[in-house]
């Protein structure tokens, strides 16, 4: 190839690239459909958690589309966008789908990453697009007066800290027995991991237990010194806030220094099958907080099995992942999206919702016990009711699960967090944020 043709072909390729990058596309017309931009991370270090999670999402939406004929007759158009769990790629996906796709409207975006959730805060406020992060959003954004477009639905780490302490109190035989106990928190040294330092400090002061905080640097493949420290301190319980490889390493190292597994309580991101199984026999008895209870014994999962999995329509390649923590998390997330659409349809009519309508719907979600029963999700999700004042949902709850060496057993019913305990702190933080950013908080008029 001569140099000239080489350069010319490079130029031609560049020209083609520009056309491709532009919005020109030949995909199906999405008019009359509701867009669900599915932010994926099928590549990169966290892909193993995404694969069942994404499948749970897709399977539920396929079930809604193909069996129920859409949400109140409105079909959902799922468009995947790979982020590889990086913020940069995530922003590209957000920009690509924030205004819809080929006629299909965007009502909300689920970024599937705490980092991306934070990065989109300002953009979403300018673009007026709701950002929904079930289980992984910013706790401060609970205050919807300051964060109108941020929805940390279902769960947060402050409530988690409280639920852990509640469970330990249950085991010890009452809150008064917490006095003098030593609770060590072993945390991933990142914004995520540090998020429980403050609430545990407040709880320690309230109940009189000793609060020991020990960081583990990312990714957490070496924890010998940390566990020796726990041993020396003679801790009674360990709250393990791991992510990725850190969790199995923690469980194995605990066994090596002789710390009992049934005294370690994992965080919600340390409580999947893929967190416990690699630790082998050492994990037997290991506990974890679960907002996304594993198991297949729920009405909706039976329906998915017969209508989607058995018909070969599932996104899951490895059917043994059906009913795992991450698969169920995907189903639960898809339920929040579909229920938000239904809420919106009641007010705006059975048609695709705009972002503004999606925002209204997310602010007026009410998945009560009756609705949960209708969905066939009893035991799978706890009631969820949002408002302008509370973007997280008023009744935060989690279960404690235990690894039996093969799978998870559910140990407790829903343990509810007392929302009032930290409400003032969160309000104060949100107010400080509003001041720093020059935001005028909305007045809550539901």
């Amino acid at each position: 190839m001569s140099l000239l043709t080489k350069t010319m072909s490079l130029a031609a390729a560049a020209a083609m690239a520009v056309t491709l990058l532009g919005s020109a596309s030949f995909a199906e017309d999405g008019t009359g459909q509701q867009l669900y931009p599915l932010f994926t991370y099928r590549t990169g270090p966290y892909a193993p958690s995404f694969i069942p999670f994404g499948a749970g999402n897709i399977d539920y939406l396929r079930y809604i589309n193909e069996v129920e004929g859409g949400v109140d007759g409105v079909k959902i158009l799922v468009q995947e966008c790979e982020t590889a769990y990086t913020i940069e790629r995530g922003i590209e996906c957000y920009e690509r789908y924030k205004n819809g796709y080929n006629g299909a409207l965007t009502a909300a975006i689920y970024p599937h990453s705490s980092g991306l959730d934070v990065a989109l805060t300002d953009k979403a406020r300018i673009d007026k697009i709701p950002i929904v992060s079930p289980g992984g959003g910013q706790n401060i954004a609970t205050d919807g007066r300051v964060f109108p477009y941020q929805y940390p639905l279902v769960f947060d780490y402050w409530s988690e800290a409280q639920i852990i302490v509640d469970y330990i109190a249950q085991q010890a035989g009452g809150y008064d027995k917490l006095k003098g106990l030593k609770i060590a928190t072993l945390y991933h040294d990142s914004g995520y991991g540090r998020d429980t330092i403050e609430p545990l400090g407040i709880l320690a002061k309230k109940y009189g237990f000793e609060d020991i905080q020990i960081p583990v640097p990312h990714p957490g493949e070496q924890q010998q010194t940390q566990w020796q420290q726990i041993r020396r301190a003679n801790a009674d319980w360990v709250f393990l806030r791991g992510w990725g490889v850190m969790t199995p390493v923690a469980i194995k190292t605990a066994a090596r220094v002789g710390f009992p597994a049934d005294r370690i309580i994992g965080d919600i991101w340390s409580g999947s099958e893929d967190d416990a199984r690699p630790a082998g026999a050492a994990a037997k008895g290991y506990l974890a907080v679960s907002v996304f209870p594993p198991g297949t014994d729920y009405g909706i999962l039976n329906t998915l099995k017969s209508d989607i999995l058995d018909k070969g329509k599932s996104d899951l390649k490895d059917s043994s992942k059906f009913g795992t923590v991450y698969y169920n998390y995907g189903v639960i997330e898809a339920i929040t999206f579909v229920e938000a659409l239904r809420t919106g349809h009641k007010k705006f009519g059975n048609r695709p919702l705009t972002a503004a309508e999606g925002q209204w719907a997310l602010e007026h979600l009410d998945i009560d016990q009756k609705r949960i029963a209708e969905l066939g999700a009893e035991g799978l999700i706890s009631p969820l009711k949002t408002s302008i004042d509370n973007h997280k949902g008023e009744t935060i709850a989690a279960k404690i699960i235990q690894w039996n060496g093969q799978s998870w057993d559910t140990r407790t019913d829903w343990i509810k967090a007392d929302a009032s305990l930290f409400a003032d702190v969160i309000k104060a933080k949100a107010a400080a944020y509003a001041k720093e950013k020059g935001i005028e908080p909305r007045v809550a008029t539901n």
Partner: protein
């Protein structure tokens, strides 16, 4: 005699070329400032802004690596210093206008660059790479462990308290684009001025043979440190733009080792010792993954496998393109472009 014949018309030609060059620069500037009229939010926010900023970061490293011949794999660390300095200056010294803050942040990064450049006086090549790697780890650790730098934010992330110049709000995509492009144009001009100056020539002398450079009286140590300082100045400003002009927010992990390697690749793919080549390299690094992703939207590739396999396939294709490019064009895209233009010219000449 051919040389004489060719060199005879050089002078007027050079003047003409200078004229053409000026026109090209002016046209380029007008085009750059007209972009928001043509491009929508998607183009500005996720294609053009990151490419321009990464190109600017590429210039930063290229001044060090391409012109002075010093290796650094800690570029992202200096970007993070720029980003965190900008944040803290905006927050704690609210009376300072944004342009001043950017320059100060660049200077703070420059100081850090000089400090981490000190080992370059004694060691070379890969060993120096290892010492700059130290900067990479140190600053990532520093900004995650001392929450003072992120104003005790819950998630350790920083986001610009205000992005405005003279009451003009720069939060919109267009506003951020103007901030990025104006800063970049000024820094490109600065880079050209430095490279063409005595300092630039001395850097290149050091790069080509530092012993000889010291023999002819160049103060090698001082010049090397200056190179680290100026390189970090560019990187620091690029980091501030990356955090506030592009991401809107950042934590220390936004500037991890991956980012340093990306910048290194931009220099290698774009071309060592070029200024505009960095933007070609940045375009390649930023856009190819998006392009491949879009391609699979337009063309049905499902026969190759499921979505997961496709996502991984994109990485393989991206890697392959880099390898082919480096084998076929080790001098980078800029040299390919330059020789292409020359080939066009000679063809035009021969056809006359």
């Amino acid at each position: 005699m051919t040389t004489l014949q060719e060199s005879a018309p050089t002078k007027p030609l050079r003047r003409l070329a200078f004229g053409v060059g000026t026109i090209a620069i002016v046209a380029g500037l007008i085009a750059a400032f007209a972009v928001p009229a043509l491009a929508d939010d998607y183009w500005l926010s996720s294609i053009i802004i990151p490419t321009v900023i990464m190109g600017l970061a590429g210039i930063g490293l290229n001044l060090l690596m391409g012109y002075t011949g010093l290796v650094s794999i800690g570029s992202a660390a200096f970007m993070s210093i720029g980003a965190f300095s900008t944040y803290n200056l905006l927050l704690r010294a609210p009376f300072l206008p944004l342009p001043v803050v950017l320059i100060l942040a660049g200077l703070i990064a420059a100081i850090a660059g000089v400090i981490f450049g000190l080992p370059s006086l004694r060691i070379k090549g890969f060993y120096l790479g290892a010492s700059t790697l130290g900067a990479q780890f140190l600053f990532e650790w520093l900004f995650t462990n001392f929450s003072w730098f992120s104003n005790d934010s819950q998630s350790l992330t920083i986001s610009a308290p205000r992005l405005q110049i003279l009451d003009y709000d720069l939060q919109s995509a267009t506003g951020r684009y103007y901030l990025v492009i104006a800063t970049t144009v000024l820094l490109i001009a600065l880079a050209f001025a430095i490279v063409k100056s005595r300092v630039g020539r001395e850097w290149m002398a050091i790069r080509d043979m530092d012993v000889a450079a010291s023999v002819i009286g160049i103060r090698v140590a001082r010049r090397k440190l200056l190179s680290f300082g100026i390189s970090s100045f560019f990187l620091g400003i690029a980091g501030a733009l990356w955090a506030f002009g592009y991401l809107g927010t950042a934590d220390a992990h936004a500037f991890n080792l991956d980012k340093s390697f990306q910048i290194l690749f931009i220099v290698i793919i774009g071309g060592v010792a070029t200024i505009f080549g960095n933007f070609l390299g940045a375009a390649f690094i930023v856009l190819t993954p998006i392009l491949l992703d879009r391609l699979s939207l337009v063309i049905d590739l499902s026969f190759l496998g499921d979505q997961g396999a496709l996502a991984n396939l994109q990485h393989i294709i991206f890697g392959t393109i880099i390898i082919v490019l480096l084998i076929k064009e080790p001098d980078g895209l800029s040299s390919l472009g330059r020789r292409g233009v020359e080939a066009l010219r000679s063809r035009a000449r021969s056809s006359n």
